[in-house]
């Protein structure tokens, strides 16, 4: 299935995920739950910034596999696998393991041919992933 279908399935199955976006290796948006393109871009940019910051804390951004930030207002999860990145927001006090499992399942459901950007490429921090 393509990214939009996988995201639709994700929001249907997960009661915790509010918004989500899938990016390809170049940072281009493959699909988003937001109908508003600006809101999807904002979430995508936050995900890329988060991965960049997480890479700075440890090594390089390309080695970051998962980032979770829990705040009083909710949670932001970013998961990277197979050249794809998925970012999702949740409400306060999310069940981290369950959200990560749902996001990973969503990424794995996306067919390889669908892993090409549709909404224009975006400069991404830390090029060079597989």
């Amino acid at each position: 299935m393509d990214a939009s279908q996988a995201l639709a399935e994700l929001t249907e199955l997960s009661s915790q995920v509010k918004r989500a976006v899938v990016l390809d290796a170049s940072g281009a948006i493959l699909g988003a739950t937001d109908a508003d393109a600006a809101a999807a871009e904002e979430l995508a940019q936050a995900a890329l910034d988060l991965v960049g910051a997480a890479g700075d804390v440890h090594a390089s951004p390309d080695e970051v596999a998962r980032v979770e930030v829990e705040l009083a207002a909710g949670g932001l999860f970013v998961l990277r696998e197979g050249g794809l990145t998925i970012a999702a927001t949740t409400g306060p006090r999310p069940t981290s393991g369950l959200v990560a499992y749902d996001l990973r399942t969503c990424l794995r459901a996306i067919d390889p041919p669908a892993r090409k950007g549709r909404r224009g490429a975006r400069a991404r921090t830390g090029e060079g992933e597989e």
Binding site: E42, V69, G75, S96
Partner: protein, 63 residues
């Protein structure tokens, strides 16, 4: 019988008070990162990298 009832009441109140004291107060805030090499780290508010990770999240979480 009355003594037994009082004892049960005292025990129930003690359990309730203990659980109230142990209950997590306030919202939990933290950031965790897992890396491809299997390593991971957890950052709590006040730690060096927490604000760097929290800033992008606040942009999309806080209206």
């Amino acid at each position: 019988m009355r003594r037994l009832f009082r004892l049960a009441l005292v025990v129930a109140l003690a359990v309730w008070a203990w659980r109230s004291l142990l209950r997590e107060r306030g919202p939990r805030e933290r950031a965790s990162v897992a890396y491809a090499d299997g390593s991971s780290l957890v950052l709590e508010p006040g730690s060096a990298g927490f604000e760097r990770l929290a800033a992008p999240a606040r942009r999309v979480l806080v209206p």
